[in-house]
Point group: D2
Chain length 345, copies 4
């Protein structure tokens, strides 16, 4: 069995650390390169990263030397790069890596809505990988760049995809998002103890656009956005991990809640190492899912749903996913697994 050598761009940040955690060990991937800012280059990973994940720093990477985030600094024999770069840096640097021939599975928000960049959740729209050909044609790239969506988008889209059989129309969604989504220092304790912040910059826009691309159809040349209108309201709450969302989906058909539960539970997963056996789990108890209790469902990669009820125009329900697992690092790893499976590496 051969192993795919992978690198992590932006390895010292919060999502970078989660990537390291998820890749140690991984049945297909072996971490062989770590990049960070020039201030960290030359240090061991142990020195460069202030390790904050609640499992110990993997010994296999702790003494690896961090290199600069530059195609010239990363070894040539790396087959796949996971990118958790800040989006402004990613916008500059990711294309340089792809031009240099690397395949990049990126969590960074830059370019997600570009016409020729696949934005994928493997269980939902694996066929959008076809955009890689378009991308190579248009940009003259050897490598490939694919993106996973924003954490709050991923949380609801699998359930919406499962509802599409009922004629998905307008969506209203309110989010209760964990502080880890803003990075380790993104939310101060003074801001959030005994408090809620009813706004997350750019988040509603991401949910409103990315979801329509994910649910759209690929016709060989591009993606037609889904026609649903999506309106989001995003809140930061005092939880550590796990984004919870209240969703209303207007539907053309008039399914019973039991039909919706059936659609959720039968929505297929995929056969990739990081994908859960059951993609969408449904709780009967009306007070579930809850972030602290249910975020680790399916090793942090399942979508937990509950509170399914009929409304005048469709259905309402709650959904929950682990924002740094399923919603970020795990999403990138899963896209990497899909790229391997589909022969892009």
């Amino acid at each position: 069995m051969s192993t795919t050598r992978v690198g992590v761009l932006g390895a010292t940040g919060a999502v970078g650390q989660r990537l390291i955690q998820l890749l140690d060990p991984h049945e297909e991937f072996e971490v062989a390169a770590l990049s960070a800012s020039s201030a960290s280059a030359g240090k061991t990973y142990r020195e460069a990263a202030k390790w904050r994940v609640d499992t110990p720093i993997p010994e296999s990477v702790a003494d690896m030397t961090v290199v600069e985030t530059d195609p010239d600094a990363v070894p040539d024999d790396i087959d796949l790069l996971f990118s958790s770069l800040p989006s402004d840096i990613g916008a500059d640097v990711e294309p340089e890596f792809v031009e240099a021939g690397y395949v990049v599975s990126s969590n960074s928000s830059n370019g997600r809505m570009d016409d020729d960049i696949p934005l994928t959740i493997p269980e939902v729209n694996a066929d959008h990988l076809g955009l890689i050909e378009v991308q190579r044609d248009e940009r003259g790239w050897d490598g490939a760049l694919i993106k996973n969506p924003n954490c709050s988008t991923i949380t609801m889209v699998p359930a919406l995809a499962a509802l599409d059989e009922f004629g998905l129309e307008n969506i209203h969604v309110s989010t209760l998002q964990a502080v880890s989504g803003a990075g380790y220092s993104g939310v101060t304790s003074m801001e959030i103890i005994d408090n809620v912040i009813p706004h997350i910059g750019g988040e509603a826009e991401k949910m409103e656009t990315e979801s329509r691309k994910l649910l759209g159809s690929f016709d060989g040349a591009g993606v037609d956005l889904h026609e649903a209108d999506v309106s989001a309201s995003c809140n930061r709450v005092p939880t550590l991990d796990g984004h919870l969302e209240n969703v209303w989906a207007d539907l053309a058909a008039d399914p019973d809640p039991a039909d919706v539960v059936e659609a959720f539970e039968s929505y297929p997963s995929v056969d990739l190492p990081s994908s859960p056996d059951q993609l969408i789990e449904v709780f009967d108890e009306p007070d579930r899912p809850q972030p602290r209790m249910d975020r680790m469902l399916g090793d942090g990669m399942a979508i937990a749903t509950g509170g399914v009820e009929s409304t005048a125009d469709g259905i309402q329900f709650n959904c929950l996913a682990h924002n740094t697992m399923r919603g970020a690092a795990g999403a990138s790893v899963l896209n990497g697994e899909l790229l391997l499976e589909e022969g892009y590496l």
Copy 2:
């Protein structure tokens, strides 16, 4: 200047303590009777109430003797009773007090949707007090029973009332409610630290029905419910006080956000002691209002709003009110002030 003698039914509970706090002192009312369960009767209020409000127990009531919640135990010269009884007890006992001639301003949820019981927010539907005549005719009562709505309902209804000029249609609302709304022991720390509970028993139903009664029109004989369809999703979050709500209001007209802000800010308050000068305040900053920062606006009696944006079908915005002030104890006191103003005492 004469003072109105008032009593508090259920004086030892969380809302009862807030009532005591708000009435000490009050320019129109003087607390002259306190009732609680038979276990507390005969004790001083200091002994009976485990005082948990963050201002000291008022000396004027601390040594008052608590009586049983029974019309025979309460002095006859009380002009007005505030009730914060548990709803099952309120359902039994409040009618006995009214039959005995007392006027009762109640926060308890029982009977709020009864055809002949006024459910009022003085700034919104003071004319619904006319139901008192209907009530007296139908039930043969000498006294009167009026209700204030549920805390989560009060938070959004003034803003919805202000929107009615634009043709209020369907409403979606997601709530982020403070733990104090469940009473002092209603939410355990194990349930809510690092967590959210996406369900509050009966709460969505209250919002969906009470709001239509509050926004409905009184025709002299009864209230026609507003035709808007209201769909609510209610969450408990780790905040102490202050319910924050994300609201989408579909509107027949297509106002600009600036028009909506103008409608909010110009919505009239009333001239009662506990009503704020400005009923609905609007924040420009997109990350406001926030529970901890803004719940005491207008001495805890104002409605804070923000995040006003256009949607495909109308408008979205956030609103916030202090759930035990404007949303419970303060609401009952304000209704009491209205009863006095309108000559019912």
Copy 3:
């Protein structure tokens, strides 16, 4: 390989649920009986316990029928009972079980300081099991009753035992205890959000007496309490799990911090299934151990220490243990393993 059949008394409470979690599976023990109050008797465990642990309810016990906490209701072929009964009930019922011949490893606080009841931490004072003979002689019991100490006591005693080589004298200890130590409903959210409670009823006394028994010497007939004076101050803080303690230990000798670290790290563990390889771990970083980061060290059974510094009269340090694992359910299981190892079953 034969398996020991065990039962859990008080199986539906918070510690009872942790016991069920730890025993599913266990390499030596098989859960064969569950008791609870008469209100739960006859129900399946799934129905009787509102399962609140963050791993799913074990299928092997979910459908087991709960029996009353009565020797007549528990099968005779149970070799060992774990007791997590409320202490007032334990005081009445545990002796009845022992008289009926059962061996009971109990977490309940009743009887811990009784002269003939072993209070044991296997790594610290396994020899105190000798009190079982005394107990049987004095009480005419066939079975045996042993206790583990209070969670806050267990957290510091291994480190104090390691210091005894330096001549342990007076102890000052301040605790920062998690809410789970009070049981699922023991601390309300209104009490603890943005707050600390500087008192836990009876807790300081337990620490001050139990630690002296644990560190005392068994002479074949009884335990001589250690002569150290222990003064504790106990605080409840808004953490879910993990008791952190600031300890000052006056010492007759004047060891360097490095000597103390060496004494901690070389303090021996025991070879029992639930004991960690390394009993006392020492952090170099001055800001560790921290409850959320370090409570699961050694699968929740290790003692984490740090901040070792010299003082005028000895040493100061911090220690941390998982209060419902090492401090309660895990402590009882470990004592059960010791009883099996030592031939008492």
Copy 4:
């Protein structure tokens, strides 16, 4: 009545904002100058400060222009400067202001232990102001520089001063400190939700040295440090405001707890505008004081105590003060009032 014109150095930070809040209005002082970093100079205070206090920004200062923290930039007719500069900047800049003739009441930690700089709590050691003469002699200064102690030191020192009549010997103290003590962004939410940090850089040393200077005696030329040995252990907990401390004080005499309560309650306050009528309040309830309930006692300027009990060598008790009021901004204002009263302005 003439008013003293004052300025605030470092006016945009967390303590600076509290200073502005406390000085608006103040019966003796009028804010006439605001300084901040060069990045803020030239802006209005409203623009320069991201106002985060939970009362509205005072209109009287909102439109004042911020100047650079430089003696040349501050008007000459300012009688008193309050300094809440970062300590490294304060160390450089405060002497420049004093040399230029200004009187500075500083909260910054630089220089607190210098031999000729008064470190004062007006109720405890107002006579240490005599060091100003020493300071002027030695440094050739026209102005004066006085300091208030660190927030965690102030919390315990008044009670220790009250105990000195019993022969104060060694002190052990464990702190549970609020996040606001680290400044607005000092503690991230990821660090502190469901967690405690058992170390605050430099804090223990401050408590151990500053308390001995505060309790020391001034002999006309310098301060003899109190001979008590103080050993501190400092913890950050998830509270917003209010430092709680568990204190053990060894005493030469053997007072009853009642004697200690009497000593606390009779310890004199001073007659300055910001000093509370009762300096040290004592709670009978063993679970008080609590940060959220009691931090605003005496308008945030009183010391709340409780849990007074005898130990083998003296006494143990808990104390609490509002860390940004009594412990920082309020402490500086109070020192300013003392300077005015004593004729230094």
